[in-house]
Amino acid sequence: MGSITLKQVRKAFGDVEVIPGVDLQINDGEFVVFVGPSGCGKSTLLRLIAGLEDVSSGQILIDGQDMTQAAPSRRKLAMVFQSYALYPHMSVRKNIAFPLKMAGMDAAQQEARVKHAAGILNLTDYLDRRPGQLSGGQRQRVAIGRAIVREPSAFLFDEPLSNLDAALRVNMRVEISELHKKLATTMVYVTHDQVEAMTMADKIVVLRAGRVEQVGSPLELYRTPANRFVAGFIGSPNMNFIEGEPAARLGAHAIGVRPEHFAMSTTEGLLAGTVGVAEHLGSDTFLHIDLDNGSHIVARAAGEFPVHHGDRIFLTPQEGRVYRFDQNGLAL
């Protein structure tokens, strides 16, 4: 079991309100990702759930029980930190066994659980090493191992991959997703990387300035963003926003079109412009285009698209893929 309910959770540091009041339901077994730009309060929200910070007001229920005032150790949650936070003076074995030792489990049982976790995470050969003798990816696995031996009701991840290099990050992303499938335990994962959010989440919570902007599955957010912020944050490269005459024609203050939703032609189309930079990746071509009306947009063509700097180009947004936003940035 591992459902988490936040009821009007508010957090202020002195006079500064970082989280003005969040309501959120995380169901048992879900993989929920908190995503948002840095300083949006996503880590603070996670630490409130963990109990590492005290809430200013509101309620946190874990499996239906009020845990608002409970100490971190009583919440049956395990956390993986960005810096791994391993105990440098202990071997990998002792690191992983530490929560079991704190729980007063007998040595034989501890050893069995450590072996099991090490097996899952490919750490069996490293059990007697110190964290200092491991690579970044291995350390991260030890941190995850320390979390899984406790068999917690939910895992909390605080930007666990941001200290790893790009290639390793992709591997670990897949490993964590597979772990979630295997354990079927609730996971709450904080990241500023929307790609991580899109690839791993069952449910994404987009945060801005401590407020929940939208909650939904990755594709829900991609297809029906509630406002300009979510529309711009989800998807890579970012959605293009065009204001002025083309928007007014559709009865909106601004329209948004994703880079992948343009039909491109060198002869005719709705919007005309000049190619600035053309990035030819082989699998995709990204074109940075200065439209004649002055706006700058990015468009993606699948495969190779033979245009170069200075070429004239015409774009037509695909039918049904144009998002309309009002003055306040809300979706129409």
Partner: protein, 276 residues
């Protein structure tokens, strides 16, 4: 790229460094040499450096006149005891200031340090009267507590600096792993801070060992450490330089040996965190 240093420059600095080192060490060397002279040679003018009649009679005399071992044991008990007692108080104090700092933590640290700026003589009379009233004069307990109090600001400051180097996330991880506050301090913080705690311990044992003002004023015989033992050989009349030097040598030898063997630890502790 390493900076290039010319040969002459290197030699100049090497010789200069040796001269400075010798100047610092010379008083100790002179004390040791004097302890092997006769009282007459000790005050000879011009001073005799190496060519005198070497004798160990001063050591025999000092041994027979006062119980060296009792003073030595008093020094050990007082310096180690006051340091351990200080650590017992300072570890939790430094923990709270390093990891749960409040608005006024910095001021508190400054205030603690400022107590070291006060001349000790300023509080001698009230301290002496208090000691007399509580029957603590010339007791090991009394002098141990006083030395602990005197060094507590330094112990707390040093530990605070070391603890600040320990990432807070590791302690939070321990909390998430179910460690209570005491277990967090015992199993995670203390082992990680061992180099820092060890050098704090060593430095404060040395400071307490060498402390003279309070030990001379608050002890006479029963609790008197080696400082009092040395002082008892200075007298207003007669020749005493050689015997005084022998007593001094015997008093500083143990701490010198301790310092020699722990110098690696001391340097490592004092530069803890300065270089990764």
């Amino acid at each position: 790229m390493a900076r290039r240093v010319s040969e002459t420059r290197r030699w100049t600095f090497t010789i200069l460094a040796w001269l400075v080192a010798l100047a610092i060490f010379f008083p100790i060397l002179w004390t040791i040499l004097t302890s092997f002279k006769s009282e007459a040679d000790a005050i000879a003018s011009p001073p005799k450096f190496l060519f005198f009649d070497w004798t160990t009679e001063n050591y025999a005399e000092v041994q027979s006149r006062s119980p060296y071992f009792r003073h030595f044991m008093n020094s050990v008990i007082i310096s180690v005891g006051s340091t351990l007692l200080g650590l017992l108080i300072a570890i939790p104090a430094a923990w709270s200031m390093a990891f749960q700092p409040a608005k006024r933590t910095k001021d508190l640290l400054m205030w603690m340090l400022s107590t070291k700026m006060m001349p000790a003589a300023g509080v001698l009379i009230p301290m002496y009267l208090m000691f007399r009233s509580f029957g603590l004069l010339d007791t090991r307990i009394g002098i141990t507590v006083v030395l602990m109090l005197i060094n507590l600001p330094i112990i707390t400051w040093m530990l605070y600096t070391y603890f600040r180097e320990i990432p807070g996330e590791i302690l939070e991880a321990a909390r998430m792993d179910g460690a209570s506050l005491s277990k967090e301090i015992i199993h995670v913080l203390t082992p990680m801070a061992v180099p820092g705690i060890a050098s704090t311990l060593l430095l404060n044992v040395i400071l307490a060992w060498n402390e003279a003002f309070w030990t001379l004023n608050l002890t006479t015989s029963k609790a008197a450490p080696l400082t009092t033992f040395i002082a008892s050989y200075s007298s207003p009349e007669g020749l005493f330089y050689a015997k005084l030097s022998a007593a001094s040598t015997m008093a500083i030898a143990p701490i010198l040996i301790l310092g020699w063997f722990s110098q690696k630890q001391l340097v490592r502790g004092l530069t803890f965190g300065a270089v990764k």
